[in-house]
Assembly symmetry: none
Homo-oligomer: 415 residues x 2
């Protein structure tokens, strides 16, 4: 099956936003075994959108559009497809009910234009929007499949994964489906990981293996086509075992989950709890942990001690450690350990984690950007700490420091 992705939005043509949707869908199509030959971006203009759809229809079996499903006058994707295919737009009543209830519950009057978000083509399947108001659309006409998805990634991605992908898969009869396993790694960078597996990557045929890196994490995906899960398992298992043999100490999951998810899951299952003291990460670690539903059973809280005064007053780090010509300073192993140990004492948590460092853009205490100390204090009285030299800008240093601290914790949890 050949697919074409059309992203709709003048903000893309003006370069105000990056077309991350195209990447997400392209990768998801690859996972489904669907080949993408073209991606197009077109503005909020019915004539040009119809032109793009007509061209795509002439060369693709599946056309996936994102954007232009909102309530405003600029949102024209459903109108354009409706005109092109000669199908009326009709109201999808459950979506309209949801929108009406939403406005009513907030005591805000619903404006007429919001009805547009509940529209679908008369001979289409609705795709449920679990994170917004605009209903998606899937339909087949004259052997061409069309999928319309909303533009905001928070709405588009779950709609694709939960509703569009199964719909597409149902149209893929006769093609052996793809099966894959994802191994997630922590405490190792992408190039080091690739170096360890270079012979396997170079020699790959079936299964294929591919490294991925995103958001401070690296992963290896092993993929094959097979008639059944059992056949796929027979093909995937030896490759997974070989990778585990080489890198087991870095593998924290065999699913596409984050390190913080895995830690929350594991600690929750064992009734363990955690508190944190964050300096240079400024709340990033806490934000990552509390992004996981159910984290409240594990995460007691944190103190974001951005100033030395807070490190001293709330976490009992002596000023003689923090300041002065002979002092180790706020960015030091001593401070990291004291933050973790003192927090552990004043909380009821089983583990206390601390991070202190220089996120940049400027150096601090004469110490270089990227220098970070993390520590984990445990109830049994031991504290482990680690000095890191991280690369990147302020944002990536915050992210990598938080992930590195979680990796220290994960190593303790595993043993």
């Amino acid at each position: 099956m050949k697919a074409e992705i059309i992203a709709v939005g003048t903000e893309l043509l003006l370069g105000q936003i990056v077309n991350t949707n195209a990447q997400f869908i392209a990768r998801a199509c690859a996972d489904l075994g669907v080949s993408v030959y073209f991606q197009t971006v077109v503005g909020d203009n019915t004539a040009r959108l119809k032109e793009a759809l007509t061209l795509a229809k002439s060369r693709a079996d599946l056309i996936i559009c994102t954007g232009g499903l909102g309530p405003t006058q600029d949102d024209l994707t459903k109108d354009a497809l409706s005109e092109l295919l000669g199908q009326q737009l009709i109201v999808h009543q459950p979506s309209l009910d949801y929108i009406e209830t939403f406005f009513r519950s907030r005591g805000v009057p619903m404006v007429e234009s919001n009805v547009r978000q509940a529209l679908m083509l008369e001979h289409s399947d609705p795709l449920k929007n679990d994170n917004g108001m605009a209903v998606g659309v899937a339909l087949t006409q004259e052997k061409t499949h069309y999928i319309l998805l909303p533009g905001p990634p928070k709405e588009m991605k779950p709609m694709f994964e939960h509703y569009a992908a199964p719909w597409i898969a149902s149209k893929l009869e006769g093609v052996a489906p793809l099966f894959s396993r994802m191994l997630k790694f922590a405490g190792i960078g992408e190039s080091a990981l690739e170096h360890e597996l270079l012979d396997l990557i170079k020699a790959q045929t079936d299964p294929t293996i591919a490294p991925y890196a995103k958001e401070g994490e690296v992963a290896i995906r092993i993929t094959t086509r097979a008639a059944s899960q059992a056949e796929a398992d027979r093909k995937l298992e030896p490759m997974e075992q070989e990778i585990r043999r080489r890198l087991s100490q870095h593998i924290y999951a065999s699913d596409d989950v984050t390190l913080e998810y895995e830690i929350v899951r594991s600690m929750r299952g064992r009734g363990l709890t955690l508190a944190a003291a964050e300096s240079c990460t400024g709340g990033r670690l806490s934000d990552m942990l509390t992004a996981i539903p159910g984290s409240s059973a594990v995460f007691e809280g944190s103190i974001v001690c951005y100033t030395n005064a807070w490190k001293h007053k709330l976490l009992g780090v002596p000023m003689s450690v923090l300041e002065g010509p002979e002092a180790p300073g706020a960015v030091s192993d001593e401070t990291a350990r004291l933050l973790a140990e003192n927090l552990l004492k004043q909380s009821t948590a089983d583990f206390a984690l601390s991070i202190t460092g220089v996120a940049g853009p400027d150096e601090s205490e004469g110490k270089p950007v990227g220098l970070v100390y993390v520590a984990v204090a445990t109830k049994n009285g031991t504290t482990v700490s680690k000095k890191l030299q991280l690369a990147g800008n302020r944002e990536s240093i915050k992210l990598r420091a938080a992930k590195s601290a979680l990796y220290q914790l994960w190593q303790l949890l595993r043993n």
Copy 2:
């Protein structure tokens, strides 16, 4: 002038990388006053690349390609354009000299395929590559302008800025450049904003006005063409004033900056400081604030009080307020106020901000997902608080709650 951007690379079609080049070029074109009507992504395939070029030629005056200028067999962009236009490829001697010197200086033998990177079309201008080997190409044939740029952003961006942009500008005689102003809004959603400005949006000719929404923020861009900044200002000013007249209480900046950036900037300038107590946002607010370089002058720290025990022990909220059949509960106006007021007392900050609510996915204390209370306590003894009912999933509720709290603070700062 109408432009079309063609990004070449199978790795884009597979979703292995994001097409950030298209965004960069699109924005640069907008700055030059060149309108981009389509963006296309095509793989490393001569036939499909020629198809994309032929289509672009039929509807654009300027075609900008990125990618496919490297040394490998997959790098086909120059070959495709050469075939399409019937122009020979010739060696650009200075580029070849550079490549040869590069290999010689490293003591590595140059392989034959590296010569390909020095090729240009016979009737083209070379575009110098200051950060790599592949020379770029600019040419005009039958009134259509073509620009070929390398794919790696670190080579493409400087080549565009230093060589391609001036080349394009030289073809733009007589076209007035674009000028625009960005107004950023807080405390109002995209549809409500558009509703307030609907008559202006519908009647827009010159200047144009367009709403944008991303990451919990909304913006309006006002754009016009003018011969000079002064002429642009004369055209843009009345529209900006009309929008300000209607919505001044929501406009926090006339630049493309975030609300947290504006708050840090404003507080820093006035020597004011801030502390926070976060419950349902779990550190998101602190992470947003500490993403701003220089925030350490403003932000003292925060207590992420995820459990009732932390709210009680670290922030002095009485257990009788937090728990019990008659208690207001952790998610209440009382708790939000106490968190802010007690934090203010125990810190030296001028403002203490608090957030407590239900981020979901499950309700809490019998209260619905999205119910959030924010409060700001100020040194002069007053506390303001606000009850919110936010939409979205756990992640967007955290984001919107943090932005809403910042909006409360911003309102106080403004007065």
